[in-house]
């Protein structure tokens, strides 16, 4: 197993109290697996991604255990995590492409970054150039300033830099969100290509866009209000979801070919609970059409079928009233 996460709890301390951003989260990631991490704003997916590398000073590690390639990651200690960052676990943060220093040429920025990690730029340069070429960038990108590059080019540059030392685990946080549809496809396929070429062993791709995940991820993990809702293969999540939240979410996504007059979609009424003082029991209870008395007790996240885990008491119950996943509409 490449990555094992057990009972992870990460809170944010605020004036008003503790925001329980991640509450008892656990899952496994195999070697070579691309896992998509999906959920809406405030569900904790970004927190989960950042806590694996401990890169946000506001987070407070409360409990849990993370193991990568058999070695425990000291995510409670900023200093102790240093040798792991970039070499074994790498992160492409959200808005990375906007965070490039505008006064530095790309090549110089990479040189400084590598020096801070104890890597000689000249020694690794041939590999760097090879990879830039592989993603479709010419090597004179190194002599350019960030402002001269388009969004897609910057994003691919950042992706190459983050994986230069062949980390075991790459965490990509919303790297396709700010891009146009055509560039999004190029960037997403490039990302998947990194795994295929062996630059990275496993990946966690964080985004709210389920359809992009379906294209490149092997498995998808859906989160809701700081807890895990469902984890299954991408195909299962999309065609046979078991958690009511996943089902409602999938059926609320418009696709090309679906028109309002023919098929009126519906969303999920209400809002996620506040994480300052989350409710007892299942956190989706208030908005769930299948909620019953036993939902007052929090459902565990357990495997109900091969490779398919859910946190719901109703999962697996094929009652007539359960929402059926939307039938595949005639593609355009």
């Amino acid at each position: 197993m490449a990555l094992t996460v057990e009972s992870l709890r990460v809170y944010y301390r605020t004036l008003a109290g503790d925001v329980k951003a991640l509450d008892d989260v656990g899952f496994r990631l195999a070697d070579g697996e691309i896992m998509g991490l999906a959920g809406e704003s405030g569900c904790g997916k970004s927190t989960l991604g950042k806590s694996l590398i401990r890169l946000d000073g506001r987070m407070r590690y409360i409990g849990g255990r993370i193991e990568l390639d058999g070695e425990e990651l000291p995510i409670w200690d900023d200093e102790a995590m240093n040798p792991f960052r970039y070499r074994h676990v790498s992160l492409i943060p959200q808005y990375a492409m906007s965070a490039l220093n505008p006064t530095r040429k790309i090549g110089r920025m990479i040189r400084e970054l590598l020096r801070s990690r104890g890597v000689d730029f000249e020694a690794i340069r041939p590999e760097l150039e090879r990879r830039l070429d592989l993603v479709g960038l010419s090597t004179d990108v190194l002599d350019r300033y960030p402002i001269e590059l388009s969004g897609g080019m910057k994003q691919r540059t950042v992706m190459v830099i983050s994986t230069l030392l062949d980390p075991s685990l790459l965490i990509a946080d919303e790297i396709t969100s700010a891009l146009d549809v055509s560039t999004q496809r190029a960037v997403a396929t490039t990302l998947a290509g990194f795994r295929d070429r062996g630059f990275v062993k496993s990946m966690i791709v964080i985004t709210h866009d389920l359809s992009v995940l379906y294209q490149i991820a092997d498995t998808i993990l859906v989160m809701y209000a700081g807890k895990l809702a469902e984890k299954a293969s991408a195909d299962d999540i999309v065609s046979a979801p078991r958690h009511p939240y996943t089902r409602l979410l999938i059926s609320s996504l418009p696709e090309v070919g679906v028109r309002y007059e023919e098929h009126r979609l519906s969303g999920i009424a209400g809002r996620p609970p506040s994480l300052l003082d989350p409710p007892q029991g299942c956190r989706f209870r208030d908005r769930c059409p299948l909620a019953s008395a036993r939902c007052a007790k929090e459902p565990p996240f357990i495997e109900v079928a091969e490779g398919h885990s859910v946190a719901c008491w109703e999962a697996g119950v094929e009652a007539a009233s359960t929402p059926k996943p939307r039938e595949r509409v005639e593609a355009v």
């Binding site: 004036l15 003082d277 059409p289």
Partner: protein, 302 residues
């Protein structure tokens, strides 16, 4: 299956236990040491300026006949007398009053012009912005001392109001620049477009949408201009360009230096005005730093 759940009723989260914006600001304000210290010193000096003159026994410019007395309780010369026999205490409290007047008037005028120019340039951009920028730059580089010397030679009598107006009219450029930059950033926000779509005119938008959003910034800016005006006035007075019909703190320092008070050990003549200027201007700036921390949550040490 269509989710016909009643909209939001059951899922409204518990009302946030946050304090309202104003209450929160007040909470931090009272706990901020810089703000409390700065404000206390300023208030003490202000009270002194208002109430002090009531206790003066002699008019500030009167030659009382007692030369170079050190501070004493005789005849009410609490701060002693000058080389020429004038009551230092009377001069001091008079100077304090003038300092506050110059600060308010000069700072107020500078703030007014700064806001007018800054808001207009930031909101309008284009050719209006270019012209106002040019104006700002011209006023910025005018040598104020030279200008004041020229003016001084033409005016027979200069009062404190003239000095305040002069200061106000020459110290607004940096305020205009700062406000222009702030206005730029607010103008691009959608709520300005929303106000336009509601039929509001440009000036209405500036006064009712943009300025209130910058109220803390404007407040702090005024305090800086206030303190700055006092400092400039003291400097002008010290080199002899002060008002000709009264005595201010800066003039007291000028006269004391001219009359070799330092060599003659007449410390009561220059120490009170010097300390007073330092106290007022310093406490205003310290207060400003404290205010910045109160208004800007990111600077707070929680």
């Amino acid at each position: 299956m269509s989710a016909t759940i009643a909209p939001a009723a059951a899922t409204e989260r518990a009302p946030a236990k946050r304090m309202s914006g104003l209450r929160e600001s007040l909470h931090f304000a009272l706990r901020n040491r810089k703000l409390v210290f700065g404000l206390s010193v300023t208030v003490v000096m202000l009270v002194f300026a208002l109430v002090g003159p009531l206790f003066a026994h002699h008019p500030p410019l009167e030659y009382g006949g007692h030369l170079s007395w050190s501070p004493t309780t005789r005849d009410g010369y609490w701060f002693g007398t000058t080389l020429q026999g004038q009551d230092v205490y009377a001069q001091f409290v008079n100077g304090l009053r003038l300092a506050f007047i110059v600060g308010a008037l000069g700072g107020g005028i500078a703030a007014g012009i700064g806001m007018l120019v800054g808001f207009t340039a930031g909101y309008r951009s284009g050719i209006v912005d270019e012209v106002l920028n040019m104006l700002t730059n011209v006023v910025l580089v005018i040598p104020t001392f030279a200008l004041l010397l020229v003016i001084a030679s033409y005016l027979k009598v200069r009062g404190i109001t003239t000095e305040a107006v002069f200061i106000g009219v020459t110290s607004w450029p940096w305020a205009a620049r700062a406000l222009r930059a702030q206005t730029f950033s607010l103008v691009s926000r959608d709520f300005v477009d929303m106000a336009r779509l509601s039929g509001r005119s440009s000036w209405q938008i500036i006064w009712r949408e943009i300025a209130p959003n910058m109220s803390s910034y404007l407040f702090m800016m005024f305090i800086l201009l206030f303190g700055g005006a006092i400092l400039i006035a003291a400097t002008l007075d010290f080199i002899g360009l002060g008002p000709s019909n009264t005595i201010s703190l800066g003039m007291m320092m000028q006269l004391s230096v001219q009359n070799a008070a330092l060599q003659l050990h007449l410390w009561w003549w220059f120490l009170p005005p010097g300390l007073a200027i330092m106290a007022i201007v310093g406490s205003l700036y310290v207060m400003n730093v404290g205010l910045d921390e109160v208004f800007n949550p990111k600077l707070r040490a929680t």
